[in-house]
Structure formats: C-alpha cells, structure tokens
C-alpha cells in the first residue's frame, strides 16, 4: 500500500490552473523527486498536500485515509512534515527552542507545564549534534548562517518523528559541500524509515538521491521513472527546454 496517494488534484488561482489533475503515489521508505520547469506547480502541490491551501477537486490520502480539508497543524500531527523553499525558522527563538516547538505533547497539563522537558531537550540536542550544528543550540535562529538554518529546519521537522517529509529545494542556495552533507542526512533519515518527497532544481543532487523521479509540467505529472529513464525521456527534455 502507498503511504501517500494523490488523485486528480486540481487547483485554480483565478484563471490560472496551477495544478491540473495531478496524480501520484509514494511507497513507504522511498525517496521521490518532484521536478519540473518553473511555474509547473511543484510548490502548489506541496501546499495542497500539507493543507496550506484547499484543492478545487481531487483527493489526498495518507495511510489510506483522506486528509483533504485538514489544516496544516493537523496534517503535521498525522505524520507529514515539510520544509519551505527558503529555509524558514523562528528567528527570535534559539536553535534549541526551534527544535522544541514541533514536539507534540498530549493533554492540557502537559501544554501548560515547562517548555523544555529533559527527554525532549536531550533528543533535540542529539538531533542537532547529528546535523553537526550542536554548537549553535543556544544562539538565536536569526543569527545563524543560511546553511545552518537549512540544517536546523530539517532537524526541527524531524522532532515529531514524521513518516513523510516534503522538502522544498533542500539544496537551494547552499554551497556544494553542504549540499553533499544535506544529501547524507536525508539518506541517513531514510534508512531509519522516513519517506521523502523533494522538489529540487539541482539535477545531479536529485538524480543521485532519488529512486523515482516525477516530472511535473503545467500542473500534471508528465513522466515518471528512475533517474535514468527520466533523463532519456524526450517529452521531459521538451518541457524543460521548450519545443
């Protein structure tokens, strides 16, 4: 069974059709790349799946259950995390506090008790150390470098142990050495069982990381296959380079 199934998803903004009958499914434990020319609807698909905008038609199912119409915080609670195109962190919270915001607690009493529980804090510190940014735990998010913010955003989204994480341009705007490291972290998390769907323009990065690539064009999936298959697909080359 697929972890995530998107069926006939469509979204119009005024007269513009951003997503047009998009259908895709992600097997659990996979890393899937979503590529396509600018304006092909990749980020809109992310926003639809994570509940930031509502679709006009179609359905999104997670673990076999329809999550259409759910709000973003509820969808995160079900186990779908996401990062944003330009790394978004909380600038006036410390890196450690950034890590603790996503942690879920149940019950009102837990909500109104201390913001930092020992086990949560220890897990956050371990996760920061695993991302090689343990040394910035006490610094404000706003004082971190862009690369550190990227790593922090990825680390923080993992705090609630999501099953599926959508990454919007994880390699965007960072230097080649860091791109390498981010790729390593994604592989490591994937080995631990996390499923990934990522939007990315850096072709060597996507091709090296993903088992399957989906090509989006004008809001619909134009082609899908292994990196090698997609690279040789004439329709894909056409969409990217123009006829």
């Amino acid at each position: 069974m697929s972890l995530l199934e998107v069926e006939g998803l469509s979204k119009h903004f005024g007269g513009v059709t951003a997503v047009d009958g998009c259908t895709l499914s992600l097997p659990p434990g996979s890393i899937t790349g979503l590529i396509g020319p600018n304006g092909s609807g990749k980020t809109t698909v992310f926003n639809l799946i994570t509940g930031f905008i509502g679709q006009d038609s179609g359905d999104v199912r997670f673990n076999g259950r329809s999550i259409s119409g759910f709000g973003p915080n509820r969808i995160y609670g079900l186990g779908i995390g996401r990062t944003f195109q330009l790394a978004r962190i909380f600038p006036r919270l410390t890196a450690l506090e950034n890590m603790l915001v996503p942690v879920r607690r149940s019950g009102l009493r837990a909500l109104f008790s201390r913001g930092q529980w020992h086990e949560e804090r220890n897990r956050a510190m371990d996760m920061l150390a695993a991302m090689d940014i343990g040394h910035v735990a006490g610094l404000l998010g706003g004082s971190l470098s862009y690369g550190q913010r990227k790593l922090l955003e990825l680390a923080a989204v993992m705090m609630a142990r999501p099953q599926l994480v959508l990454l919007d341009e994880p390699a965007g705007g960072v230097n080649p050495a860091l791109i390498e490291r981010i790729g390593e972290h994604i592989r490591e998390l994937n080995r631990e069982g996390v499923t990934f769907l990522l939007v990315e323009h850096n072709m060597p990065f996507v091709m090296g990381l993903c088992q399957e690539i989906l090509v989006l064009n004008r809001g619909a999936v134009l082609a899908r296959g292994t990196p090698a298959e997609v690279r040789g697909n004439a329709a894909v080359l056409d969409a990217y380079l123009g006829a």
């Binding site: 709000g71 915080n73 509820r74 978004r88 919270l93 450690l96 915001v101 109104f112 735990a137 006490g138």
Partner: protein, 343 residues
C-alpha cells in the same frame, strides 16, 4: 556554575524585595493623593502585563483592550447590583465573575478578529472596542447609558479609602505577572512565541495557531476585565466614554513598547515610568491634554532610540559587558550557554 546560582539567588532576592516594598507602601505613605497614584500605577502594571500576554508573546497588537477593561467594570457593577452586595470587602470576592464574563466576550471577539493578521487585526480590535462602547451608551436599560452606572460605596474613611483598592490592584498585578511568567516558560508559551515569529511555519510544525491565539487572547482579556472590575468599584461611578476609553488601550501599548515587548518585566517597567509621569502632568497642568503630547513624544523616542524597549536593550548591554569581562582577551569569541537566553 557558581555564578549562575548566584544570579538566580539575586533575582529571587530582588523579586522578594520588590514585592515587600510594594506591599508595605501604604504603611509608610498614608497621603491619599500618593496612594491614589500608586493605585493607578499598579493597575497599569497589571493591565500592561496582561496585554503583553497577547500583544507581546503572540505579536498580535490589540488596540481594543479598553473594551475588556470597560466591559469588566460594567459586568461587575451589574453583578453587584443584581446580587444586592453592599459596599465593603465583600464585592472583591465577585471580581472573578466579571473576569469570566469578559473571557466569554473575548471568545466571541477573538473568534472573529483572529481570522485576520497584522494591521487588519489592529483595526478590527479598534472597531470592536467602539462597538462595545456604543452598546454601553445605548443599552440604557442595562448600563444606564450616558448617565452612568453606580457601584456600592464602601464605608471607609477618606484617609483609608484607597488602601484596600491598592491591595486589590497589587494582587491583580501579581496574578497577571505570575500567569505571564508561567506562560512564558511553558510549552504553550513557546508555541505563542513561534506564532509571533512566523505563523505559517508554526502551523507547518503542528502548532494549532488559532486555538493558541484565542486562548492567549482570552487569558489576556480576562485579567484586564478583572482589573476593570476593581477600577469600577474604586471610582464608584462609570460612564461609557471613561470606562471604555481608547486612550487606555493606547497607554498599555506604549508602556509595553517602552519597557520591552514580549518580555516579562518590560510592561512593569513601562507602567511604573509612564503612569506616574502622566498623573504628575495631569495634577500640575490641570486637566489639559498635555499628557497626550508627552505620550506622543515618548512614542517617537521609543521608535527612534529604543525600538525593542528598555529591557532587551539594557539586557544586551549587560550581556556584552559581562561577556567581555568573563572572556578577558578580546580575541576569544563569547560563548553562549545552550538554552539560556534572556526573557
């Protein structure tokens, strides 16, 4: 480690001293005029602290909190009249009822207003305040309209009259501070600060932003409503345009901005500086509107010189000085302890 413990002991000692000083004030200062200033100052400490729970932690600037202040006063007056409570200490027991009623009003107003963000929210809160004021003016059967609503008069002598109200206001200020402190270090408070920084990002990592904002709004309004209740009883006669005064709402915001938005002690400091200054101007220059010019000047100075307020600016200065001292040679980078940052 030792210095961390010492700082904590010093902080507690300072807090205990401050509270002791506030509690004993009427003992060595019996001039009713001075106690009257103290009553209003402590009232604004509580109001600014309560406002900060919403405006500071969550970043949603409400200019309509005067509605909750006035509503609390009216609700309290009506409850006392309905129950036939006589003047004295007994009415204070019923202040929480006014608070609860204000929370219900905040639930209704917040439910609507919190669908908007930023400047739109500010404007919606102003509109809501004027609606509450209009209702107070026009529901004459309930509120007495323009002729006002009277409270039971306590049987206390003029020399003593202000003292019980001083303690009631001080109690409310301490309750507000305790709640503000508690929220700031709680998981809930962390969610509020996350909403302040980036609401969409907070949603994306599971913070139920609408419920959080609404809860903060209701807590903030409930405290303001209870303080308004004590105020109504203190002045014994309330009118729509004074009980629901836009300038009260603006004063709160100014105090919090001056002291430090989103900090625990900023609102206290702002209130302690501005309220006596305003009363001093009012006493010395009559009922002129000079204090409005003064407020405008303070607002300008804060924006130009202390955009973050006194507490964060001074806090940074102290940190820089101590870091320089602790580190010694300037070529060593100052280190920050994990998880520690000034409130």
């Amino acid at each position: 480690m030792r210095s961390v413990v010492n700082v904590r002991v010093a902080k507690w000692a300072a807090l205990v001293l401050l509270v002791a000083l506030a509690v004993s004030l009427p003992l060595f200062e019996s001039d009713p005029a001075t106690v009257n200033i103290a009553v209003f100052t402590v009232m604004y400490v509580g109001l600014a602290t309560a406002w900060n729970i919403m405006g500071g932690y969550t970043g949603y600037v409400s200019l309509g909190h005067a509605a909750f202040f006035g509503f609390g006063a009216y609700a309290f007056g009506l409850v006392l009249a309905h129950l036939g409570i006589q003047g004295g200490y007994e009415p204070f027991v019923f202040v929480p009822i006014a608070g609860a009623l204000t929370v219900v009003l905040a639930l209704v107003i917040g439910w609507i207003a919190l669908r908007t963000r930023a400047a739109t929210f500010v404007i919606v809160t102003i509109a809501m305040m004027f609606m509450v004021q209009l209702l107070a003016e026009n529901l004459t059967g309930l509120t007495g309209g323009g002729s006002g609503l009277s409270f039971p008069v306590p049987p206390w002598s003029g020399d003593f009259f202000d003292t019980p109200f001083y303690y009631a206001m001080l109690f409310m200020a301490l309750v507000s501070l305790a709640i503000s402190w508690w929220i700031r270090r709680s998981k809930f408070g962390l969610g509020l600060l996350a909403i302040r920084d980036d609401e969409d990002k907070a949603l994306a990592v599971g913070v139920p932003a609408h419920a959080y904002k609404l809860t903060a709004f209701m807590i903030s309004a409930g405290l303001v409503g209870m303080i308004g209740a004590v105020y109504g009883y203190y002045v014994t006669y309330i009118y729509p345009q004074y009980a629901i005064d836009p300038l009260v709402g603006i004063s709160l915001v100014l105090m919090v901005f001056l002291g430090g938005l989103g900090t625990l002690w900023g609102p206290v400091l702002g209130a302690v500086i501005l309220e006596p200054a305003q009363l001093w101007l009012a006493y010395n220059f009559g009922a002129s509107l000079l204090y409005l010019v003064f407020y405008a000047a303070v607002f300008l100075l804060v924006i130009l010189l202390l955009p973050r307020g006194i507490v964060p600016s001074v806090g940074d200065l102290v940190k820089r000085i101590t870091a320089r001292r602790a580190v010694g040679p300037p070529d060593t980078a100052p280190t920050t302890v994990a998880g520690v940052h000034s409130p």
